[in-house]
């Protein structure tokens, strides 16, 4: 069954027990951290400050004095850009998924813009919006819209034909059909698109702040490097790692919550079989 479903089979660990379960994922990160701490303390090279200093900086600078002036603005830009991308991506995706002619006419243009490496869109965004917040939000939205858009189109196209026919048989109106059938049906795939968009948004916010900004995480990291303030630079990179990790966990939880009906319906379908 696993094989037929294309499910990944992660083999079990050769031993059992709660202790092994807790210990296995932890020993290597802990060992690495301790090694880094010991090495950075003993080598005394400018570029690699002691780990304790970096962690101290993470709390005192990134989560302290710079939290509201740099970290929060970056997060707001990301959230705004993503929100716009989600709305446009889903809306346009539904329209393009349903209108075959419209889809065929626009797809070469969309393919072309999507193919451009995202950073090259920054100069274009700067031409349109200058170097302020609106430029960054526009850039993030523009880059993040594509994975969401393409996934929505794909989901609409691969909608269950039985569902489609049921809709026509019960003469369900176009509006209801989109809102109650197509959109929920497309949700699992839309979420997969948003997940990709998340990673892209983090890249683009840091990149745009490095190239043209007076605040933000990316800006602060670059400035720290230029001032040879290594603790702040490493602290920022550490912050980004933690941020990316936490955001992806939050996203997974949201997905689990929003798509719980999907999981349940699948369960019942399997039970019926």
């Amino acid at each position: 069954m696993n094989v037929l479903n294309g499910e990944r089979t992660i083999p079990r660990l050769p031993w059992k027990g709660a202790l092994a379960k807790v210990f296995t994922p932890l020993w290597l990160p802990l060992l690495t951290l301790i090694l880094i701490a010991v090495i950075t303390r003993s080598i005394n090279v400018l570029y690699f400050p002691p780990l304790t200093e970096v962690i101290g900086n993470l709390f005192s600078t990134w989560l302290g004095s710079k939290l509201f002036s740099d970290v929060i603005p970056s997060l707001i830009r990301m959230a705004a850009g993503l929100a716009i991308a989600i709305v446009i991506g889903i809306g346009l995706g539904l329209v393009m998924g349903m209108g075959a002619r419209f889809r065929r006419m626009t797809s070469p243009i969309i393919e072309f813009i999507r193919g451009l490496p995202a950073p090259t869109l920054l100069p274009f965004a700067m031409v349109l919006f200058g170097i302020g917040d609106s430029m960054k939000i526009f850039l993030i939205a523009l880059v993040c819209v594509f994975p969401i858009l393409l996934n929505t189109i794909d989901a609409v196209l691969s909608m269950n034909p039985t569902l489609r026919m049921t809709c026509s048989a019960y003469s369900i109106g176009k509006f209801d059909r989109v809102i109650r059938v197509m959109l929920p049906g497309a949700m699992p795939q839309i979420f997969a698109g948003i997940r990709t968009a998340f990673a892209l948004a983090l890249i683009m916010v840091v990149f745009s702040e490095m190239l043209s900004s007076t605040d933000g995480i990316g800006h602060l990291i670059l400035i720290a490097q230029r001032n040879y303030d290594m603790a702040t630079m490493w602290g920022g990179i550490m912050l980004l790692g933690i941020l990316g990790y936490v955001l992806s966990i939050l996203f997974a939880l949201t997905e689990k919550y929003v798509l719980s009906w999907h999981r349940r319906s699948k369960e019942s379908r399997l039970a019926n079989v």
Binding site: L13, P25, R103, E111, A118, T120, I153, R195, L211
Partner: protein
Amino acid sequence: MTKLAELDPEVGQRRLAVAERRNVLGSWWRKGSADGFIGVLIALCVWELATQTGLLPSQYLPPVTTIAVELYEILTDPSLWVAIGWTLWGWALGLVIATLVAVPLGIFVGLSVFSYASLKPIIETLRSIPSVAWIPVIVLISGVNLNSVVYLAIYAAFWPLFIQAIYGVQDVNPVARSTANVFKLGRVSTFWHVILPSTTPYIATGIRIASTISLLVVVATSMVIGAPGLGMLISLAQSGGALPKMYALLFVMGVLALGLNYVILMVERKLLHWHSSQHTRKGISP
């Protein structure tokens, strides 16, 4: 188990790769290929008219014809070709070295349950850091030159390849594995005849993702640190106010990106023609 797998973040990513493989837009040139041309033509005409009549401010968007003239000029300029060469060099070197390192490592980690369970937290944390965040670090360590660009490209291209290789190994059909075991196929033969063939499609997808990421990072680094390449040219054109040139360069960049994508797909098709995933695909991505 299936429903949990649907929600597993890693499987979600793999599903995305499948969605990408199916390529939603890929068939535009086959069915009603005229529509695509008409769409592009309409867009270009509207663009030209709107900029000529002043409906769209031409300081933001020059007319298409101006950009076309500029495009012809830069195409005859050797400096563009040098920049393209540097960009391609960074992209290719990053991709090739990352593949050579990531695939064997990924296969090794995927085969060993213990090493996967131990490494997972580190992998997740490291790949959460956006690759551009390393630009300042790499500049400190290796300076403003093409090496920095290549190092970053390797680093960024490493992750999708590594993770795809791990998934590929873990996705080997357990029946096939047990069969190999029952027939007492040795470790080496099992690897060559069972594990490697079913892992290659995953690696192929990984190469496709890594190719995009490698190009992204090469261009981004070139823009931030001013290393030679297309990214820097585009940045310079914009900051110098040479808008037609910037748009012409964006066009060149887009064509280059699509071309690279096409080459990767073609190579994948040639190498994986025996695999079923190649027969279910609807169209070729342009």
